[in-house]
Amino acid sequence: MTLLTLARRSLFAAAASAALATGMGLAPTASLAQTPPGVLIVGQIAEPKSLDPAAVTAVNDFRILVNIYEGLVQYAPGTLEVEPGLAESWEVSDDGTEYTFKLREGVMFHDGTPFNADAVKFNFDRMLNEDHPFHNTGPFPLAFFFSSVASTEVVDDLTVKFTLNEPYAPFLSNLAYPTGLIVSPAAVEANGADFGRNPVGTGPFKFAEWRSNEAVVIEKNPDYYGEAAGTDAVVFRPITDANTRVAEMLSGGIDMMVEVPPTALSEFRGEGYSVVEQAGPHVWFLILNAKEGPFADKLVRQAANYAINKEAIVNDVLEGTAEVAAGPTPPAFAWAYDESLEPYPYDPEKAKELLAEAGAEGAELTFYVTEGGSGMLDPIPMGTAIQANLNAVGFDVKIETYEWNTFLGEVNPGLEGKADMAEMAWMTNDPDTLPYLALRTDAWPDQGGFNSGYYSNPEVDELLEKARVATSQDERATLYKEMQAIVQDDAPWVFVANWKQNAVTTDRVENFTLEPSFLLDLSGVVKN
């Protein structure tokens, strides 16, 4: 035990010399090869599933895609506002159902085929039209982002027109989302189902090689029409294990990593590294089962909101990598966020009172916790801390942990009959997406939505439907703010945290910033 009192470094130095002394030591190999300037090595959290933008859903994959492909529109740096991309300009009809895009001229895909209106039509038809000859290169899980598109027309070589069934305010924002990135039709035709491993886009980088489980390499596109990329190549290394990722970062095996585990952040606060943070449209919450059990009572739901020490979670468990969430809409959607909304304070006494009032003391709760997952941060420690908080005010919480896919398989069909609460997090590109998909009555799981906790408030339903078809942003903002106030009071969820995305780079990396969209634009990054 005395060993433990030694300082960590000296402990290991001692162990190392002991190992050497006993002859077990390994001769130090030549100091590990440093990667050359101009080659940026990025530690990813997983192997990409595919590099076909229409086929993937994970932010991890998006981080690679946005460097190879471009969409008609894109998010302006540092914001979630839409700016021109492959389309130079666009017009929206007054009724909000026709979008006409003027395309940039002279853009070539990496395979040398031209980018034009036919290519755009090919992309959207492939995703949306079941009869399209290449629809079988799917599935396209996020095709519903464009489900309002009735047809895509080629007006002329550089003009394309989308006709929507009904006005759909998030349409432009969805186009900027990676699902809207434009792929080379020629490459899809050539590779079919294997296109996802042989991606061809128009972006500042082109795909070089994919060594399974080792790396995806993209290199500078010398023919890029815009400003050339700052590095010669970027290597994305999938390192699923956070701890190994940190170790790689510390030992110089990678130049940059995203999603730094909060507990490891302190390692990078010193010399040699820089930590980059950026808040984004993320909300981490607990779905409460409002249909049955203790949480059918609004007072109990509010009690849960009071009982949980969110400051402790964001500041201690997450080491300040998140902020306390106040309501269902993250502050990153600045125009739609209600600044006046105050988070539920940590007030265990109040929680106890509410519980007593509802007569729900000692309520037994089943709590679904996931082991990890997109945007889930540190779900087990967070869940454990939440459990401790809830138990402290008189709940009796039992955790069941599931691997992410199993977890989704349990949660998405609804909590009824299984659980009282479940962890969940969403990263979205529009204030419409999350509440529309997860808070409306019509979004209950049996109707194909994600309202797994069966929250239902006709007022909220109406506000959301209105906001979706409204054409003016101000009008939408008012509606969303109204919705936030109601939802916060109804407490269908426990609002826990808004994540500040982070990344660490070595000091050889310059010009690196994170985007609120959670995408990873590396075109301007320089590595010395």
Partner: protein, 622 residues
């Protein structure tokens, strides 16, 4: 008690027992120890280092007290390991016993199934089971138990197959027992100790495997601590706060190590072979610790055994296998040594070239002189050079005394090549020649046989050829024909007799059969209870046995040609050499015994030509 003292004689096992009982004690004392609640979080105090105020081992990533979590976690992990071992042991053993007992098709089907399970990567099987049943420590326990069933089934089946062929199982069947009862009352008690040993040695392993599953997040559910999940949770902070990993890691290590140490100790203590010292590795030569002064060289014979004393030291017991035995043999002479099992005849023979397994054998006195040189005192290398070259052995059971994995020709060639620098081809030619000289037909092809491919008689010829390989001066034949059929025995004996005459060999021939002695030997020494009781020429002894034992022994062996008749029996049993009576060892069975026979040493009376160790000999010897 005997078991415990055996167990703790093993210092490592004792250490394991101490560490394990300390851990178990701590874990049992959990209710009374002033521990904090292991599940209460205090995120402000997270990652406190060990020896912090109020937290002896520090805190984890949620500010929970590591000491409390460690003890609760240890309790859980121990319980899970134990139960998993119990479940796997019970089911696996049951499967193994059934397969091994019934054999045939049932065995085949079961073992194929076990093969399948074993071919399935065990971690994946466990993973799949947990995925199917849902996470949770109980399910992890089931998974770990399930994947270990094949291990037990295979082990126990192997032992059961051996037992099921034993005669007591047949006896039980003839006693009217059914299959179920035979399994439960005859087989189970015999495999139980193996099952217990296997369980005790696998508990540690089960703990490791459960920890592995928990480590992958498939074990205990938060906030419950078990050692694996503690390690898994601590992993993300391994670099920043290694103590949170090291604490549970060391605990797993301590538990598994102490269980392994203890398990080894239990296995060793239960193993009867270890108790008898049989598991000890025999040294290259028998240990010599002479207490009495070296007897002076009396110049007798080519090989001269003088006042030899060989004992076996097993624990505190001393088996006096050979007591004050003096024998000598001249060139061209055949000396017979006759006696029943336990009389010390074989040990005497093996002592000559230091071949008594040691431990436990020790030569405690006397000398063995070859051409006057005391072999017991000779340096090892000099002794080794004489083995096979000057003095060669023929052993009893040629199947177990020939190396099963070498061709007989190679074994023969080796015997030559260890003493003489000859090429392989020459050695091979010599081997063929030797085969021919012991009348093995087709020697050119027979040298390529393995021992198991030959019949008993042929194998023994190989044994003889090997003894003859270097033209030794003395051959010590230790019951060379006992394992053979009569017709083959006759051939071998006549072969030995011819060889001795042709080559002028000195033979020491050990046997229990008077008929054999009569036909082959010039002189005979009769041994009983580790001593020579009578010696003389073969004719003298056969015609006029002087010692009552010799006389009665000869009488009780039926001789062919007498038809159905009553046999003369000697009452009582041969003595056990660890507990020899004072005086004459035969006195308790002797009809002539007087009180004088039961006290004090009785000397071997007479000369080299004829001597007897008896106060009331049957014949007066000159």
């Amino acid at each position: 008690m005997r078991f415990l003292s055996l167990l703790f004689r093993n210092r490592l096992a004792a250490m394991g027992a101490v560490v394990l009982s300390l851990i178990v004690l701590l874990v049992l004392l959990i209710p009374v120890l002033p521990l904090q609640d292991p599940d209460v979080t205090n995120t402000a105090d997270r990652f406190l280092p060990p020896l912090s105020e109020g937290h002896l081992l520090g805190t984890d990533h949620l500010g929970r007290d590591l000491l409390a979590r460690l003890l609760y976690g240890t309790r859980l992990s121990l319980a899970v390991g134990l139960f998993a071992a119990l479940i796997a042991g019970t089911i696996g053993s049951a499967v193994g016993i059934v397969a091994g007992y019934f054999g045939g098709r049932i065995d085949n089907v079961i073992m194929r199934g076990i093969d399948m399970l074993m071919a399935f990567p065990y971690i994946l099987l466990a993973l799949a089971i947990v995925a199917a049943l849902g996470p949770g420590l109980l399910n992890a326990l089931i998974a770990v138990a399930a994947v270990n069933i094949p291990f037990f089934a295979r082990n126990i089946r192997g032992i059961t197959v051996g037992l099921a062929g034993r005669e007591f199982i047949d006896a039980a069947r003839l006693s009217g027992m059914g299959h179920g009862r035979i399994i439960l009352t005859e087989l189970l008690p015999n495999v139980l100790s193996t099952i217990v040993i296997a369980m005790s040695t696998t508990v540690g392993w089960m703990i490791l495997e459960t920890a592995g599953l928990s480590f992958l997040g498939l074990g205990s559910q938060p906030p419950q601590a078990d050692l694996g999940s503690m390690l898994g949770e601590a992993r993300s902070s391994m670099i920043t706060n290694p103590h949170t990993s090291i604490v549970p890691g060391i605990m797993i290590f301590l538990i598994v190590m102490s269980i392994n140490l203890l398990g080894d100790g239990v296995r060793d203590a239960l193993d009867p072979r270890l108790r008898s010292g049989a598991l000890a590795r025999p040294q290259a030569r028998t240990m010599v610790r002479r207490k009495a002064p070296l007897p002076a060289d009396d110049g007798k014979g080519l090989l001269n055994i003088q006042r030899l004393e060989t004992q076996f030291h097993v624990g505190k017991r001393v088996y006096r296998a050979v007591n004050d035995v003096s024998l000598h043999v001249n060139a061209g002479e055949c000396l017979g040594v006759i006696g029943e099992s336990g009389s010390g005849k074989s040990v005497t023979a093996l002592s000559v070239m230091g071949l008594v397994a040691s431990p436990p054998g020790v030569i405690t006195g006397g000398a063995v002189r070859y051409e006057g040189e005391d072999l017991l005192a000779a340096p090892y290398e000099s002794l080794r050079k004489k083995r096979g070259e000057k003095v060669a052995y023929i052993f009893q059971d040629p199947l177990s005394t020939l190396h099963p994995l070498y061709r007989v020709g190679d074994q023969l060639a080796e015997a030559i090549q260890v003493h003489h620098r000859v090429s392989d081809a020459e050695a091979r030619a010599k081997a063929i020649e030797l085969f021919r000289s012991v009348r093995i037909p087709n020697p050119e092809s027979r040298i390529r046989n393995y021992p198991h491919e030959m019949s008993g008689g042929m194998r023994q010829r190989v044994g003889i050829a090997m003894a003859l390989a270097n033209d030794p001066d003395v051959i010590i034949a230790d019951e060379p024909t006992t394992a053979l059929d009569v017709t083959v025995q006759a051939q071998i004996l006549s072969l030995l007799d011819d060889l001795r005459r042709e080559r002028g060999l000195a033979i020491v021939f050990i046997t229990h059969d008077f008929g054999v002695v009569a036909q082959l030997c010039d002189r005979v020494a009769v041994m009983y209870g580790g001593r020579i009781v009578e010696q003389g020429t073969t004719t003298d002894i056969l015609d006029r046995p002087a010692h009552p034992y010799t006389k009665r022994l000869m009488a009780c062996v039926p001789e062919l040609g007498g038809g159905k008749r009553e046999l003369a029996a000697i009452p009582g049993l041969p003595p056990i050499v660890s507990d020899l009576p004072p005086g004459c060892a035969f006195a308790p069975r002797c009809h002539k015994a007087t009180p004088a026979c039961r006290e004090g040493e009785i000397a071997l009376d007479g000369g080299d030509a004829r001597a007897v160790r008896c106060i009331h000999p049957e014949e007066e010897i000159a």
